[in-house]
């Protein structure tokens, strides 16, 4: 006789505070008790309720045979690696955590995973792209599980106006791993009595997803749908470039025509021409240098000045986007207010170059404007007054090419392109890296200044970097260091590391 034959069904739920993991566990217990199971559930909330990871653990034991009637089974309070039948994760990184904890094992576990991402603090506070590798996480989940059901269940919840716990409950039912009928699950939702209609809809969506039903499709990456006749000849000139340079060039043309005018887009192409030739002469056929310059040059030429910001804020498409983003229903009025804090620098930047320089260099005038711009302003774009203020600033667009900022930015880009050209002749990879390094210069005010400082430091290090065994990698490492913190500590250390000590220089 095998005394260990009868065992409970074990279910672990990994969620985050506020996602309704507790409700899901209660539904499972309720459905199971009505289906003749002895159910036990426990949880570890604690401070994890405050946005941290939480987990719930449920055990179900069939109330079959005389034995379980007389003597209750001893049910566990913690999931044991290798002994978990179902693991439900409400988010992809939490799914990864379940794998890491060994709860998901190929001998046993049905793994229900919502692939949506709730970004961790580490990912969110990165100065550039600090996101975890979703593909690796999902691959890990697939490798660990006996059976996996995955999909963006959060999107299904949103589509059905419900919460993810109901979709997960549906997916659990649809996985058919528990010996209960669909109706038994749904009855638990009905007995719960809260938000029944939406929960049932979400349950249905989850059930269908588990059965391999169609999943919602994410919007495709932007493609240029319509080309205006003015830009057609410019677009035609990109034909000879290899991908992805060609795509970037086309996007650049469109961006700059929108930013200024077709002539500005023409300038863009003209500046790329010598780079394209250099790429052909010194490149390895990949066209990477041209691609990186095409991408960065477009961003550099479309620098974010007050005119650009004002123009983007008042567009009709933007009003529609805000309504969609805040999920305004018909009949609801939406008012929009901007938080702007122009300083004397931004004002000078917008003025004609000579006037701007005068303002920055004339003590009393500068102090006067500084006093006026000490605190930030809230501009209500949806009011006539606020709208017209921004409209007036946006109207300065035709005069942009005479502004101080324009002069400064063009000088900067000119120098950057010259450096790339010079370096490309001897080191193609390093030139490509220099092209990418411009990415450090972004944002507004302090952020922009910090980025520019970091970029300048990298460029100052170029002669030294070129003496190193792998200059491109060295520059890339410095760029990453510049993005490691916003105090410049990591970059300072990285530079110290490669700067030769006096005696070592001999």
């Amino acid at each position: 006789m095998d005394t260990t034959a009868q065992r409970p069904i074990t279910i672990a739920i990994l969620a985050m505070g506020g996602e309704g993991g507790g409700v899901l566990a209660e539904w499972i217990v309720d459905a199971a008790e009505h289906a003749g199971f002895i159910a036990q559930m426990t949880s570890v909330p604690g401070v994890a309720q405050r946005t941290g990871a939480t987990n719930y653990y449920v055990e179900l034991f069939p109330k079959l045979g005389a034995r379980s009637n007389a003597l209750p089974p001893v049910l566990g309070l913690t999931p044991v690696p290798g002994d978990v039948d179902v693991v439900i994760a409400s988010e992809l990184m939490e799914a990864g955590r379940a794998v890491q904890r060994g709860l998901v094992t190929p001998n046993r576990t049905t793994f229900i995973v919502s692939t949506n991402r709730v970004y961790s603090m580490t990912e969110r506070i990165a100065m550039a792209d600090g996101r975890a590798d979703s593909a690796a996480l999902l691959e890990g989940c697939k490798s660990a599980a006996k059976t996996i059901i995955h999909g963006d269940l959060a999107q299904l919840a949103e589509a059905t106006g419900s919460v993810i716990s109901a979709v997960l409950f549906g997916a659990l039912a649809g996985s058919k791993v528990l010996p209960m009928q669909r109706m038994a699950f749904e009855a638990a939702i009905h007995r719960g009595g809260v938000g029944v209609k939406q929960s049932i809809a979400a349950f249905g969506a989850g059930y269908a997803a588990a059965e391999g039903g169609p999943q919602p499709v994410k919007a495709e990456a932007a493609v240029i749908a319509h080309i205006s006749p003015t830009l057609a000849p410019l677009m035609a000139e990109t034909g000879s470039a290899a991908e992805p340079a060609r795509m970037f060039m086309r996007l650049g043309i469109e961006k700059l025509a929108d930013y200024q005018d077709a002539a500005y887009a023409r300038d863009y192409l003209d500046r790329l021409k010598p780079i394209a030739e250099t790429d052909k002469r010194h490149g390895n056929g990949s066209g990477m240098l041209l691609a990186e310059v095409a991408r960065e040059l477009a961003l550099g030429m479309a620098y974010e000045d007050t005119v650009r910001v004002a123009e983007l804020k008042i567009r009709p498409s933007r009003f529609e986007r805000v309504r969609a983003e805040v999920q305004a229903a018909d009949g609801q009025i939406v008012e929009i207010a901007e938080f702007l804090h122009p300083r004397v620098q931004e004002i000078a930047d917008t003025l004609p170059a000579s006037t701007g320089r005068w303002l920055l260099n004339t003590g009393w005038a500068r102090r006067f404007v500084e006093r006026l711009t000490k605190s930030g302003r809230v501009v209500k774009t949806s009011s006539i007054r606020g709208f017209l203020q921004l409209y007036a600033i946006a109207a300065l667009k035709p005069k942009r090419r005479r502004s101080l900022r324009y002069a400064n930015e063009q000088a900067f880009l000119h120098e950057w392109l010259r450096t790339i050209q010079t370096v490309a002749a001897t080191n193609y990879a390093l030139a490509t890296e220099i092209a990418t390094a411009r990415t450090l210069v972004k944002g507004y005010s302090d952020t922009h200044e910090r980025g520019r400082r970091s970029y300048d430091m990298l460029m100052q290090m170029l002669p030294r970097i070129m003496e190193m065994p792998d200059p491109a990698a060295a520059l890339a490492a410095l760029r990453k260091a510049a993005l490691a913190d916003d105090t410049g500590t990591a970059l300072g250390l990285a530079i110290k590391d490669i700067r030769p000590l006096p005696q070592a220089a001999e």
Binding site: T3, T4, M16, G17, Q40, T42, V44, P45, G46, R50, G52, L77, P79, V80, G82, V104, N107, M121, E123, I125, A128, D129, A136, L137, E139, G140, S143, A144, F248, D258, D261, L299, E304, R308, V309, I314, R315, P316, V322, V326, A328, A329, Q332, I333, V334, I336, L340, H341, R343, T381, S383, F387, A394, T439, K442, Y444, S445, T447, G451, D486
Partner: protein, 716 residues
Amino acid sequence: MAERSFRDEVEKLKLGDGAEFHGEGILAVTKALLQSGVSYVAGYQGAPISHLMDVLADANEILEGLGVHFENSASEATAAATLAASVNYPLRGAVTFKSTVGTNVASDALANLASGGVTGGALIIIGEDYGEGSSIMQERVHAFAMKSQMWLLDPRPNLPSIVNAVEMSFELSEASNTPVMLMLRIRACHVYGRFTAKANKRPEFGLADALENPRRDLSRIAMPPMTYIHEKDKWEKRWPDAVKFVEDRRLNEFFDGDANDIGIVMQGGLYNTTIRALMLNKLADAFGDSKIPLYVMNVTYPLVDKEFVRFCAGKKAILIVEEGQPDYIEQAVNTILRRADIQTRVYGKDVLPMAGEYTGGVVRDGIRKFIEKTRPDLLPAGAPISDAPLKQRESKAAALVATDVHGRPPSFCTGCPERPIFAAMKLVERELGPHHVSADIGCHLFSIFPPFNVGATTMGYGLGAAGASALNVKAGKRAIAMMGDGGFWHNGLTSGVGNAVFNKSDNVLIIVDNGYSAATGGQDIPSSFHPHASRGTQNSIEKAVRGVGVTWAKTIDHTYDVALMRDTLREALTTEEEGPKVIIAHSECMLNKQRRMRPLWRKAADRGERVVRERFGVDADTCTGDHSCIRLSGCPSLTIAPNPDPLRREPVTKVINSCVGCGLCGEVSHAAVLCPSFYRATLITNPSGWDIFKDRIRTAVIGFFQRRIERRLAAA
């Protein structure tokens, strides 16, 4: 009003004889108290027994109906001292708090209580906050039981056993004149199960009887020479009485097994885990039928020597499954067996880990090692659990996720009023450089994690200011101390503020006044903003600090005003004025505010009333993906999203719809001069006639200009 309401569930407390109770562990404990004829209950909230306090608060009417008095104690020391009512009177009383932090605070009162001894049953329900999900340092309550000589019950984690343990505790306490501690682990507190109820019992002797017929007994007061007598009495009388009671009433349980030359001894609380571990080693079935004899200690202090001698008879080895360190029980068992000259080998922390939670996997592996050493013949041949290809898949999976799973430490909720305090602190840091920050216990301690990374030490609840007290010399910078309103009333007013006044400290203290004991689940405190039927709320913190002698005190009524917060903090750090500088940052806990207001807004909207909701957003086309705004906030609603511009690689910042429009994003982008991407959207549901009129005019005028813009764009 607490975060979680038990208003419906407390109806189960009325169940009578023979009815089946279904519910959570802590609710079962409450029912057991009522079945035991308890006269008074008190406590201080804290995981994992916060919900026990919430249940009691929500059950106040039922308690009053039974003549049971319930108090929200000011601290665990207050709670423990409350048990003084059971010293001279035949009153059964119970108090509850989390351990070991609560026990630390309570230990003065507990030591006095245990020295003099009790007449009525005195029960301390301990939420043992140990292992996964714990929020405190990892220590054992066992040490407190030993040092003051209180009995410690650690029942099997199922509702019938827990309920029985509560009832037995009162009897044990009365039989041995000793307070009894009943410890419940986190998962046992939250375990859902069932038991057969008994009728509630009204106390025979009430609190009013005590007040009207006061009694005293000098021999029970902890003062020399009585304390010398107490010490002897503890050993000569109370201990043997307790041991006899435990034996006679069979509080510990024995289960036979075929392999009777070995045995396993465990704390009752680890019974289920041990059975599962045996089951996974194919040594027990799901009903607890084990091949190896088991000794389940539902009472872990005192140990019953005779039971050990009996259990070890004929056994070559036993395994002790004892969670946490030091291994008090294992050491004691070795002493017992040596004294009795019994040669049974004691295994324990040599096959199980010394530290850390005893989860199923840990105990499974420990038991396997024990069996391998003592009875390898009991183990099935070959690899027991999984084979090589499966193992390979597991390790491949682990390697794939290794670098991409980040920790998720707790952080401030969406719209939390404490976040702007730390955003302001970061801005002041840019001007004046970093300062020493002494942190406290409470939600504000989340500042130690990214993105704020603020706070050097935390010495205990309400001890933020005390933690900075040595740093009280003339220097170029002052220390900043944090304290919550919960900690302030718990002890911070005296240990921190009074101490700083008395010692002429120049430091700065920020008191976070959010209206609740927020971190423990939103319980009310003396300075809660709203009037309360049965508690005295709305007491001003500023008045209290001025009352103990603070002269520089400022209350900020809207913490979201980051510029004001920054300027006030700067002033506190630089003012010439002597003595402690106290800033009271007063804004309601957003979690509780939303819980309170959301249903009201929904109802108003359904009634067709004008409802205004604000939320923030980010324009993806002006956001350059630097995320400075997130580094000054960390709000869960402020996250990132793929950049819609294919030319850019950095994800953009995005505000998700859980935003409550607290205003911090706008304030921060102003105060820190960040970027113009933030906008505030005001959504008006059921707009008034005036709203609609205004909107029409605006749409007409703005629409005119927008059409011009569109034409120009199309022409380009």
